[in-house]
Symmetry: C2
Subunit: 505 residues, 2 copies
């Protein structure tokens, strides 16, 4: 009995979500009894809602009643009409710039400084970037050999990673949108975890030329292997191994030093969200993000289709018109991209989201943007662009976990925080990923896959601030190499996945 | 000196290609002297060609002179205006159905029969298909363990392969074009090399549900692992290994038997083509294809953007209007797809193609379609569809080597023949790939990566029929497991790459 049976977020809400599965007839609040069995995390009507009336959660309209809804009814996705997305032509910028951010418990971390003066590394990795998928077969075998035979000789190097992808040839390289995958590859070469050591594998006849991938001064004999210039398989293998060893020697002298958090670039995203994500994990991440920003760090949040319905809220946090206009441009680009594919933002929610109680994209969006906290938004990035400002940044990317993570890596992310409701073993080869779940029973199910449990917020056993601070400290520990996240412990690596909106030829 | 300095293909041609690099002043034919240095494989004018006049190779117009061209001039890509593509609205079908195909030296091979009565396997593989990229990290580690700990116990099984991909979630699953990646995944589960053993790894909350991937009767506890139903990392690993072992036991009893070639499904494609590809490797492959068809086998050729400019020639070979109309539909779909991306078929040729003497897509196309030989075309497939007819089939796919190969695998291909000019180490995990090069110096450079050299055709040391017969015999040997191709020997595996023309969300 009692109030922990359901969670109402905003005083204007006319729905609450159930903390656990509830049987018909259960009293969930003083004057409200469930009229049907209601699954965990799903919505219950707190009052009668006439047909066509607004359904309010997070204090915002998440849709309209398709039929009369009675107090105590379970409200599922089929009972809600999706509202129109917020207009992009009537946005207000810079009207909600908060300054009262929470004080961080620490302001430094132990990172690998980079000589370019940019963000520091959180790991020390030999990254081998490819121009084209053609080289993947030989390169993968070479990397296996490098890890077995060479890497043990260089104990300060954490890993050797081939950045394979399906781009580079058989693509419309001059299509307008080809700039996105090309930018992603160009920028991944300079990832802060690679320590400025460039190693690129090329076939020789591909469309994505070395000149498109590298700055001119980086196209050197030491940095590049071109298969078609080498006399056969065994010679190619030998050349890759020899060049890798030269790079490993250099990387092996990198050492961690205490650095201000202004040298840390964190990415945030969510995947497999449920109705608790927006109440527990994402707000806790938002609190941690606010502390990072207060400490001078840079934090990116992303996932355009999950921001689209809260764009008016994000717009108000943009520090000026220039930032706001780029936000609109990215949103409009995505609206058009989806329209070209004959879909719209309603294509985002998954069966898992819906089973978890998220009826539509508006409800999902309001939970998703909670991970960005309250800080002013200082910059908006196109997919894979590198930040030029420090603070909270909206990095426009698809919501697809792999594409989002890869875009954030291309932007230079060295640590990701990933919120999940249903659970995912997601991990990246190029940066550690801390996974935060939204519910106690998720953590119970996957003890060895979920790093941080935000579930205690549901029951009142912890506050958003408690879990946010816990997460902040975990981020510093993992970034500093004092601790491995669970995805690292098990070596869970999702593919580097380019965003290519241009045609394949 | 003499006639082997240049190759003229059709008596109507007003250009020839150079057999080797030629210096200015060299006499290449009785009355023709090179006016400039000409790279190997590039075109030389056999007569004066006034501005605007047609340039003819393969007996077809490959474009128009942008300026006056003198007899003996080097003709490069900047001197040729691309003609309009053949109209798709004035096609003639079934007017060139040949019956005089070459007799094959053999009509059987040693394959693994399948109980569904369909195509036989050429290899015996445990294929583990994923619904979504989320599962990749754990699955890759599991496959490593399976190969180390279990596979050695089952010596009749050739390999264990995870079919990872970037699809499954974070995609517009209801977009019209989503049917292509979904079909590819649905069909890859039933690949002939998997022996009817289905093993699928799912997360649990993804958009691509088990119901979309599998037939209802295949969704069983034995066939499927759903991560979100299993209690954590170690338990998931244990369940994958246990289910894999059950499958390995069953696969281990498969044996090769002598089968008619009607049980063999071969795919053909080319990549990194040069001006010799259309003179040597592709025509030899076409001759071998004709022998396969004559023996009752099924042969697919693909690469829409490389067929587009020869579509009128292909159309005449379609056995009836129904097949022809599907050909047009696939071509129109691709024209529109490219137009949506603000490009056209001219986006196909690569820097390598151009360096190799292929000035534009028309010239490339005429060489590319040579690999289909002369047989009647009995069926046209949409990307990833499975054939219902035996004989020569046009399987519409992108020309991208990885996407084309993956589409052909989804169509059930168990052996691929791959023609190359510049050279690629291309290989597939699910089927052997025989690589055929177009030039002697390519084979000299990559002795250990090129299976068959069609270069002797250039110098007259071998005929198209000689190399075609050699290739036919190699195909039978490799399909029968009597021989490994070089990509297999070194374990060169390119990624399974889905064709997804629909948006990412
Ligand atoms: Ca998300
Ligand atoms: Ca996501
Ligand atoms: Ca074996
Ligand atoms: Ca080709
Ligand atoms: Ca190709």
């Amino acid at each position: 009995m009692g109030l922990t049976q359901s969670i109402k977020i905003n005083e204007n809400d006319n729905v609450a979500i159930t903390v656990n599965a509830i049987s018909a007839g259960t009293m969930i609040r003083e004057d409200i009894t469930a009229n049907q069995d209601i699954p965990q995390g799903h919505k219950i009507a707190l009052c009668d809602i006439p047909e066509g009336e607004t359904i309010v959660r997070y204090g915002v309209p998440i849709g309209y009643a398709q039929q009369k809804i009675n107090k105590g009814d379970w409200i599922n996705e089929h009972m809600i009409t999706l509202p129109n997305p917020p207009s992009l032509d009537e946005m207000k910028f810079a009207v909600n710039l908060v300054t009262d951010l929470p004080e961080p418990p620490k302001k430094t971390f132990m990172g690998f400084p980079n000589s370019d003066g940019g963000y520091a590394g959180t790991r020390n990795i030999l990254g081998i970037v490819t121009t084209v998928q053609c080289v993947t077969g030989i390169l993968n075998n070479a990397v296996k050999k490098i890890k077995e035979e060479l890497l043990p000789k260089y104990p300060n190097v954490d890993d050797v990673v081939a950045i394979n992808h399906a781009y580079g040839c058989g693509v419309a390289i001059n299509a307008p949108e080809a700039k996105i995958p090309i930018r992603m590859l160009h920028n991944i070469v300079k990832h802060p975890n690679f320590g400025g050591e460039t190693m690129v594998i090329s076939l020789g006849c591909e469309k994505l030329t070395l000149e498109m991938l590298l700055d001119e001064e980086d196209i050197t004999h030491e940095n590049v292997v071109v298969f078609q210039n080498v006399k056969g398989h065994d010679a190619i293998m030998a050349e890759i191994l020899a060049k890798a060893e030269t790079k490993l020697k250099k990387l092996n002298v990198r050492t961690r030093v205490e650095l201000p958090l202004s040298k840390l670039l964190v990415g945030m995203q969510c995947g497999g969200s449920d109705a608790f994500s927006g109440v527990t994990a994402n707000p806790a991440a938002g609190y941690a993000a606010d502390m990072l920003v207060q400490a001078g760090a840079t934090v990116m949040f992303s996932e355009v289709t999950e921001v689209r319905d809260g764009v008016h809220i994000i717009g108000e946090r943009c520090i000026n018109d220039e930032v706001g206009k780029k936000l609109i441009a990215e949103m409009k680009w995505y609206d058009q991209y989806l329209e070209n594919g004959q879909v719209d933002r309603s294509a985002n929610p998954t069966p898992g989201n819906k089973k978890g109680g998220l009826s539509n994209i508006v409800e999902k969006a309001m939970g998703s943007i909670a991970k960005s906290g309250r800080s002013p938004i200082v910059e908006v990035l196109s997919p894979g662009e590198r930040p030029t400002k420090k603070g909270m940044i909206f990095a426009a990317t698809p919501a697809s976990d792999f594409v989002c993570g890869s875009c954030q890596l291309s932007s230079g992310m060295t640590l990701e925080v990933f919120m999940t409701g249903c659970g995912t073993p997601y991990g990246l080869a190029l940066a550690p990923v801390i996974k935060v779940c939204s519910r106690n029973d998720m953590k119970d199910m996957w003890q060895d896959l979920i790093d941080i449990n935000a579930g205690p917020i549901v029951t009142g056993a912890a506050t958003i601030e408690d879990i946010g601070t816990l997460l902040f400290n975990e981020m510093i520990d993992v970034a500093s190499g004092h601790k491995q996240c669970l995805a690292e412990k098990y070596g869970l690596h999702n593919d580097f996945t380019l965003f290519n909106p241009a045609p394949i030829t």
